[in-house]
Subunit: 308 residues, 2 copies
């Protein structure tokens, strides 16, 4: 699956991913009103509003981008109806030729991780039949439980040609509390990075591994070190835009081949119409504002990495 | 919510929790056949079989136990239909007076953790209405992202009188890979434990905190140390039974008040009928076998901690 992601990135000259993390206050009023008129102010109404909102953004941006990254928490908070919207969003993005990175940050003991892997990037057995629970191409995974919590995901990646991104150094302010703790003179996240390389070595694509990692845009110095430590590991980079990261900070997340990193922006793209910069589009044309924000993000990042 | 859990434990003299982690191969043939006859070998059929199976176990054991711990991965692997079975199971357990510990091991950056917290132990806003996405009383939480990934859960606990169990030292074989790494002469899991105490101090029940932790039964020496480090933290103990832990290993997970720990068994209870020891019950009476396994587990643990 990493081969497909790289092909998409190269064809569109776009090392970016749009984070579909809908919050109710991002969704334009006309979409909410229409959904609530049909289903009431219910969980189903919320799910419908989210789905309509996402579809607008996908329709307006899919020709420019290689992938989307729906954050499942934003759907899960609305229970079953939210997860139906998540499922529909993933399916629709795939119909549009996009790679779907499910930002699920799952991770558990072996048999449980296996169930998550099967449910999100594999197939589950029901009697003599098999089904996809959820239809992602990649998922994000939490490494705190160690190898036996990760291996079941890697096994499913091998079997189904899918991929994962393992959390190494996250973008949030307190990520250092445990991740930066020094172990034998080196931060814990470097130990995690070494394991990522080991796990990834058994699941290689043509040039990069199907086992990628997550390193936040907000820690560029660490990103630089980690890039060298994991030359064949694709880095999913959250924290661009609303969280503070900029294109110039991200140069060292890329390899000399111009590949090796894919930068996520969520709020900065999907709620662009709320920024002064894009206010001219107006709420009704929120999706056009998102498209312009994608164009600007590509300018910023491709400019910084000399890819234009 | 910790007060309610403790009250349940004391009334039933049962410091245990039954892990509702259904696997298709645990479910008796007659239940699967009946579900597949109605819905086919579909995800809906699987969800129906899981729900019927769980209901049987709850009906046969609820008077003996304080709580159940459904592992969401085992439901999530069947997609939306599996999660409907999860939701029904949680609701039904609550109707029977049980505390529901959702084993979800979520954890993310702040705004995302907030969505998980709202979705599982809080209430989500839709227009002028509020709803519960999923109806758990406690959830398990992964600490790898640090304080700002945990605080949103604690805030919801305070607001809604709910609780969490933070992973400190997990029961699986490779849990030591990162959790045991030495930081300034102390294992990382002790640093996490100290943070758990800090987070928990703002969310106290009468004698214990609503912020508990997870320490596996498979590491009794570490459990002993952690017990002393966190005197007011309830410990959720996985790894009993099928994973190898026994009552005698668990003595030091409890405080002198006979409280402070709740021991989980999943497979050992819900698939008891598959063990030689309970084969006499037969597949059709799987729930009676589960009841007997609960009785035996209580004997073992209450015996070991001198609580009989």
């Amino acid at each position: 699956m990493i081969n497909t992601l790289i092909k998409n990135i190269q064809e569109k000259n776009a090392p970016i991913v749009v984070g579909l993390d809908p919050m109710m206050n991002y969704i334009p009023t006309h979409i909410k009103e229409s959904a609530f008129k049909e289903y009431g102010e219910t969980l189903k109404g919320a799910g419908e509003a989210i789905w309509t909102y996402n579809k607008g953004i996908i329709d307006a941006t899919y020709d420019l981008i290689p992938a989307v990254k729906p954050q499942i928490a934003m759907y899960e908070q609305f229970g079953i109806e939210g997860l139906i919207a998540f499922h529909k969003t993933c399916e629709y993005a795939k119909e549009k030729g996009l790679v779907v990175i499910g930002d699920i940050k799952r991770g558990d003991i072996g048999s449980t991780s296996e169930a998550y892997a099967v449910g999100h990037i594999g197939k589950v057995q029901v009697g003599s039949q098999t089904y996809q629970g959820f239809p992602e191409d990649f998922v994000t995974v939490n490494p705190y439980l160690g190898t036996d919590g990760i291996k079941p995901f890697v096994d499913v990646c091998k079997k189904e040609n899918k991929g994962i991104f393992v959390l190494v150094k996250t973008s949030n302010p307190s990520s250092g509390e445990f991740q930066d703790q020094m172990v034998d003179g080196r931060p814990l996240y470097e130990l995690v990075a070494e394991k990522v390389v080991e796990w990834g070595s058994e699941c290689m694509g043509d040039t990069y591994s199907n086992v990628g990692c997550v390193v936040g845009a907000t820690y560029p110095e660490m990103g630089k070190v980690l890039r060298k430590l994991m030359p064949k590991t694709y880095i999913l980079v959250p924290g661009y835009g609303a969280q503070g990261g900029q294109g110039k900070d991200l140069v060292h997340y890329f390899n000399e081949d111009g590949l090796g990193a894919i930068v996520n922006s969520s709020r900065g793209i999907i709620a662009a119409y709320k920024q002064d910069k894009y206010a001219r589009f107006g709420e009704a044309s929120y999706a056009d504002a998102s498209r312009q924000a994608v164009v600007d993000m590509l300018d910023d990042i491709n400019g910084a990495i000399g890819r234009k």
